[in-house]
Amino acid sequence: MKTKISVEDLNLWYGSKHALQNINIDLHKNKITALIGPSGCGKSTFLRCINRMNDLISSANVEGKIVIDGKNIYDKDVDEVSVRKKIGMVFQQPNPFPKSIYENVAYAPLKHGLVKKGRECDLLVEKSLISAGLWEEVKDSLTHPGTSLSGGQQQRLCIARTIAVEPDVILMDEPTSALDPISTEKIEALMLELKKKYTIVIVTHNMQQAARVADYTAFFHLGDLIEYDETETIFVNPKKKKTEDYITGRFG
């Protein structure tokens, strides 16, 4: 299997707080990797390092390397905006733009110059919404506001919006924690579909979800990467005591 993202000695400080300590991990291509761990363990922070979203927080200070496709994204000659285009992100709260469904999907590809306005753009919007499993539900209401959809639909719209810019990697920060079980099921099915094309990294609080969808699972605790292995190994036969305690619900 191929490594898509290779993290070497990653450290992150929020001011004086050492939030991530010497993280070394290889994330595999076309696989779903779940990041689990108790609140405040650094899993979301780590996720945000992968597309340099932490650059938006002025107190955050990153050291180390994240090598994607042979290039360290923290190199001086890498623009974080282009990193975020290649590494898409889906957030905890569905956050469609206050625009129509069509514009939600079309906005970023148009700005990136991926497509031209008109037929080409229409096709991309359709393709993205089909990939996100939303097309059948919204094809007659593309001009309606994105916020008029239900929570689960909004989240799939956000996924459609993310894949419309044709990223390599999709980061998902607890994408189903604000959704009901039926919507969650749909998103999980969608993730399994999407991993054929994309590398997916998902942060989740829901261990069943990690067990259901993830090929690999990484367990974080207090800013440390405790254990990283195939999901089955982590859940059935963890090597570290702490992982086992967390999995079996003894803390967290």
Binding site: V81, R84, K111, T147
Partner: protein
Amino acid sequence: MKTKNNPFYDPSLKKRHANARRFKLLALSSLIIAISFLVFFMVDMIGKGLPALQQTYIQVEVSYNEKTMKSSRKAIDRKLRKVVSRAWLRAIPMQMKENPQLMNTTKLVWALADDQVDQYIKGNYYKLKNKDRNIIDELEEQGRVELQFNSLFFTNGDSKIPEFAGIKSALIGSILTLLVTMLASFPIGVMTAIYLEEFAEDNRFTQMIEVNINNLAAIPSILFGLLGLAIYINLFGMPRSSPLVGGLTLALMTLPIIIVTARAALRSVPDTIRQAGYGLGLTKIQVVRDHVLPLAFPGIMTGSIIGLAQAMGETAPLIIVGMIAFIPDSPSTITEAATVMPAQIFTWAGMPERAYIEKTAMGILVLLSVLISLNTVAVYLRKKFETKW
């Protein structure tokens, strides 16, 4: 008994409910006091101002001839000369020049009455000689005295002749001034807010700026007038009394209001929207311009209109930059001398003639209606853009 078969009986409740009722009454009475002040003010203003909508006219025979051309007083009967408006008499030669076919004709015309006659007809205090009053009584019996709609109030500028004075030049002055204020303060204010809220780092320098902006909103307006005088007139040599200077002076006052409200509007846009944008690889300008600003827009508009409405009612700084001048003609550019409505009201309020009282009240009513319509626009804009998404 209550206590016996009522498990919910609580002896302390009676007192607690009474307390709640008293508090409600207290709150209600403050509202009633506030409303009664407002009602008193409105009733007084409307009662005093409405008569200004009517003006006494007298039907007189006017003879247009060479003599009239030289001395317009000779156009009408000697005994009527005191009861018609001087301003109306003065305008006769002009009319003759414009319509040469009037020459050597005689016509029955409704002439604008003198302000004292007007006050007499309206039943107010008046100063008329007995002989003039008898003439009016006589004319009235013949049906030659009439109260007509006072269109002059809306088509004339200020005048030292009360019956001839109108609000138009002040209204236009106000509009031009406000236009300058808006053009100067809106873009600068909104851009400043965007910079402070979206771009600037949170350090001691920006905190100092923030404190100062908040302080600016509380500075007495007359100081802004002095600042405007010093900078725009003395330093830059802009024309005194002009809407340009007045508008820029008011812009100094409006700026902090716009900045503070625009920042609040930007801050209320959920951060998730910004993150969504950055997560898609959009640049800062794309995120702010296309996603954050549209959401903040209704709030920014409301704040700006409230700031402008406040500027519209502002008088003190404009007095300092000379906009209190006597301006009979409406300004047509922003560099001509002008006055504004509140300054006009101030001027009229200080006039000795009785007729200016109703004009003052009417001026206030016009100013209030403009302010109310501005605020209505603000509410409308907010509703329109808020319910959209």
